[in-house]
Symmetry: C2
Subunit: 201 residues, 2 copies
C-alpha cells in the first residue's frame, strides 16, 4: 500500500531537503496538500526562480543574481581588506556582527583532496589575481575552526604570504557568554596562547 | 544585510513547510543552491504536479489523482465494512497494520465548531448516503483518541446508529511493547473497562 504516484513523487522530491527523512517528507506532503496548496505553488515558483536566476558573483564568488553582488558593488566598503570565508552563510554571519566593512571572498567549500576539491575548485587563482590587481593590503582568513577549515586557512595563508600580502587569522578563544568550565581543552589552549596584555587595545 | 531577493523568496517559500523555521529554511535554501540544484528543480516539478493533479476520491474523500482511489476501485475488498478515519495518513497506518480489508471514509479533519468545521465540512451527508446506498453493515470509527476525535466519533456514531447500521469504535488500551508503569491513567482506565474474558476470541 502506498499513496498515489503524484504524492509519492512529491514525498521523494521533498527528501532532497537536508534533514528531511521519509516520515517528515510524508508529513510535509500531506500538510501541503491538505492545508497549503497556494504556499506549495509559491514554493515551486521560488525554487525554479532561484535555481535558474542565482549564480555566483564574478568577484567574490558569493551567490548573486547579477554579475557583481551587492557587497562588491558597494563603493563605501573598504576594498583593501578581504575576508576569506567558506560559504555564503559565513558572509551573513560576519555581516551580522556589524564589525567588518571590507570585502569578501567566498571559497564555496574547503580544500578536500579526497573529494577532488583542490585549490582550483575553491578559486584560489582568482583570489590571488584579485589580491594582486586590487592592491589588497590585508587578507583575513575566516574559514571554520575545523580540521579542513584550518588546513585551508594554512594553505591560503602560505600562498598569499608568498605574494607579499599581510595575512591574518580570526582569533580563536572562549566565546562570550560561555562558562570557562564548559569550554573544551583545545579552545582553551587557543585562548591561552592567544592572550593579550591588559590595557593594550 | 540579507541575501539576494531570489534567495530571500526561496527562504520565505520554504517556511510554508511544517516544522521549518527561518534558520532551517536558510540552511535548506543554501544547501539546494550549493549542492543540489537538480533535486530542487525536480522538487519544484513534483510540487506543481501534485498540487494540480491530486484531488479527492469521490467515494472515500481520500487523496487521489483519479475519480476513484485505488482502494475504492479494488473489487477484492469488502464493501460492507467502512472504516472512518480523520486523514489520509490514518488510512496508510490502518493499511500498514495489514488486518483490515474493508473500505474507508476519510473525514479530512474532525468536527471543530469553533473553526467552522461542522458535519458538512467533514462530509457526513456523503457518508450517510454511502452507508444507505451500499448496504454497509458495519462502520468502524477509527478517529484519533483525542478530545476532538472522540467527539467526532460520538457524533458520527449517533448519526449512523439512527440509520440502523452497526457502529463500532476501535479499542483503546495498553499498546503492545509498552510497559504498564509508563501508561497514562486514562489509557489504563480504558484498558480496564474494555477487558475481555480470557479464552474467548
Amino acid at each position: 500500500m502506498s499513496f498515489s504516484p503524484l504524492i509519492e513523487n512529491l514525498v521523494d522530491g521533498l527528501r532532497c531537503l537536508p534533514g528531511v527523512g521519509p516520515k517528515s517528507a510524508q508529513r510535509m506532503a500531506l500538510h501541503l496538500l491538505e492545508r497549503d496548496r497556494e504556499g506549495a505553488t509559491a514554493l515551486a515558483e521560488s525554487l525554479v526562480a532561484a535555481m535558474t536566476g542565482v549564480r555566483h558573483c564574478q568577484q567574490c564568488r558569493n551567490f548573486s543574481e547579477e554579475t557583481l553582488c551587492s557587497i562588491c558593488r558597494d563603493q563605501r566598503r573598504d576594498n583593501k581588506t578581504l575576508c576569506v570565508v567558506e560559504s555564503p552563510s559565513d558572509v551573513m554571519a560576519v555581516e551580522q556582527s556589524g564589525s567588518y566593512r571590507g570585502q569578501y571572498f567566498v571559497l564555496m567549500g574547503h580544500l578536500s583532496p579526497i573529494d577532488g576539491i583542490g585549490p582550483e575548485e575553491i578559486g584560489l587563482d582568482q583570489l590571488q589575481s584579485r589580491v594582486a590587481d586590487e592592491d589588497v593590503t590585508e587578507v583575513i582568513l575566516a574559514t571554520n575552526p575545523t580540521v579542513e577549515g584550518e588546513a585551508t586557512a594554512y594553505y591560503v595563508g602560505e600562498l598569499l604570504r608568498a605574494d607579499g600580502v599581510t595575512v591574518t587569522r580570526i582569533a580563536h578563544g572562549v566565546p562570550l557568554g560561555g562558562e570557562l568550565e564548559f569550554v573544551d581543552g583545545n579552545t582553551l589552549a587557543h585562548a591561552l596562547s592567544g592572550r593579550r596584555e591588559v590595557g593594550i587595545t
